[in-house]
């Protein structure tokens, strides 16, 4: 089937999409946007988190066909040209990126949190990031990054 979707502000089209395929597969393999990572394909790790019509979701759990006519914003769409979004910059500055696999999903989740709650408490940060797993950083640097981005 054909899927039309706006991705990072641009109208995109993909043909021969398999009906059971996920939005994550569509983004990575058909539209050439490898920012969202594929780690578990079962909603557990959050590394595929993207905005769908402004709401953070696991792209691996959205059927590609469900994104027809909708708007997707991926981690690639957060930066303004070469200028990183403050959340992205603060992950770099805080050393919250090691292997980087979890980073795109965490950045989107943190970006959404700070949009909704400009000055989150540690509790709120932990709750907002509960669906994102990192196997490298031990989370402390990630918490630092989100706290710094909130300032």
């Amino acid at each position: 089937m054909r899927v039309n979707v706006t991705v990072n502000g641009e109208a995109r089209q993909a043909d021969d999409v398999w009906e059971g395929e996920s939005l994550l597969y569509l983004l990575r393999e058909r539209l050439g946007l490898p920012g969202s990572k594929n780690a578990c394909e079962q909603g557990e790790c959050g590394s595929c988190t993207v905005y769908l019509d402004g709401t953070p979701v696991c792209a691996c759990l959205v059927a590609a066909g469900q994104a027809e006519g909708r708007e997707v914003r991926t981690v690639e769409g957060l930066a303004d040209g070469d200028r990183l979004d403050p959340v992205q910059q603060s992950f770099v500055d805080a050393g919250a990126v090691q292997c980087g696999f979890c980073t795109p999903g965490l950045v989107v989740a943190a970006h959404d949190l700070l949009n909704r709650v400009p000055n989150p408490s540690d509790e709120e940060i932990r709750e907002a990031l509960a669906g994102n797993l990192c196997r490298c950083t031990g989370y402390e640097k990630i918490l630092d990054a989100v706290r710094a981005a909130a300032k």
């Binding site: 009906e19 996920s22 394909e41 759990l61 066909g65 989740a109 509960a130 669906g131």
Partner: protein, 289 residues
């Protein structure tokens, strides 16, 4: 595989009548996992996310009609007052990303014994509105669950909404998991006080082949709760209630916990949540008086 994309409820019901094997797709948080892992290869997917009739809620005559496609996130932010226990249960589901997509309709469709909303639906006496091109019918939550991951829908039917009474008194939901976030319940429990009818609903999850009411425990409460002369509950009442709740369970040993642990934990959850709910009830009675 086909991908069916009905634009409204009439189209959705017609599609389901024509393709009874089509798998309805709401938030996809259960369905997509099965597809990603090749556990399911349906002939067709029936996307319900464009069906506006499923995406809203209304309140009329003290009853909330909750569209099957309302996400947990919306339920928590919009219906916390009217449906406190369902909102509590929704807060324990998965992560923000899962709650942004997952729905009560999908929880019912999956009918997992561990689904977090089920004990609340049972304890509050909810009814499930289902429809097909043949018409609409209401199924009591009690009759909805018929086996492990089995419900009582006909192949051409879709869940349209859930009807729950607006809470008139405190309700509680509690869940035991192996950690705080992102876990499926080892066991769960809901209690809902209903002073008007002098009864209290109580139901368990993840502790029997289906979610189920704890009928004896409910009868015990109906007789023991001092509705007319509200006073703190005696420990013996809370303890006995816990025992009766635990005895309603028929749990199994699995990776998440032993049957014995589940029974024990249910008794504790029941005792505590009843204590909290009754305490709140006393508080509200006093401020009213």
């Amino acid at each position: 595989m086909e991908f069916l994309r009905p634009a409204n409820l009439a189209e959705a019901l017609a599609a389901k009548a024509e393709h009874p094997d089509a798998v309805p797709l709401a938030g996809g948080t259960d369905v997509m996992v099965e597809l990603n892992f090749d556990h399911r290869r349906p002939d067709a997917l029936l996307d319900l996310t464009r069906v506006a009739e499923l995406a809203g809620w209304t309140v009329e005559d003290g009853v909330v009609r909750l569209g099957a496609g309302v996400s947990y996130t919306r339920l928590i932010t919009e219906l916390g007052e009217q449906l406190p226990a369902l909102a509590m249960a929704s807060r324990t589901v998965g992560s923000p990303q899962i709650r942004n997509r997952g729905t009560v309709g999908g929880n019912l469709g999956a009918a997992s014994p561990a689904g977090d909303t089920h004990p609340v639906l049972l304890a509050t006496g909810a009814r499930v509105e289902v429809a097909s091109t043949r018409g609409t019918r209401m199924i009591d939550a009690d009759d909805f669950y018929v086996g492990v991951k089995k419900h009582s829908l006909a192949p051409d039917e879709l869940i349209v909404a859930v009807h729950l009474p607006v809470a008139t008194a405190p309700q509680q939901f509690a869940k035991v998991g192996t950690r705080n976030a992102m876990v499926i319940a080892v066991c769960s429990f809901a209690v809902a006080l209903d002073p008007e009818h002098r009864r209290a609903g109580a139901a368990i999850g993840s502790a029997a082949p289906t979610p189920r009411r704890a009928a004896e425990a409910e009868e015990f409460l109906a007789a023991e709760l001092p509705w007319d002369a509200p006073a703190p509950l005696r420990d013996s009442v809370k303890r006995r209630f816990g025992e009766l709740v635990a005895s309603a369970a028929a749990p199994i040993d699995d990776v998440r916990g032993t049957a014995e642990y589940r029974r024990h934990a249910l008794a504790v959850l029941a005792r505590r949540t009843l204590g909290w709910a009754w305490q709140d009830y006393l508080g509200s009675e006093r401020t009213c008086a």
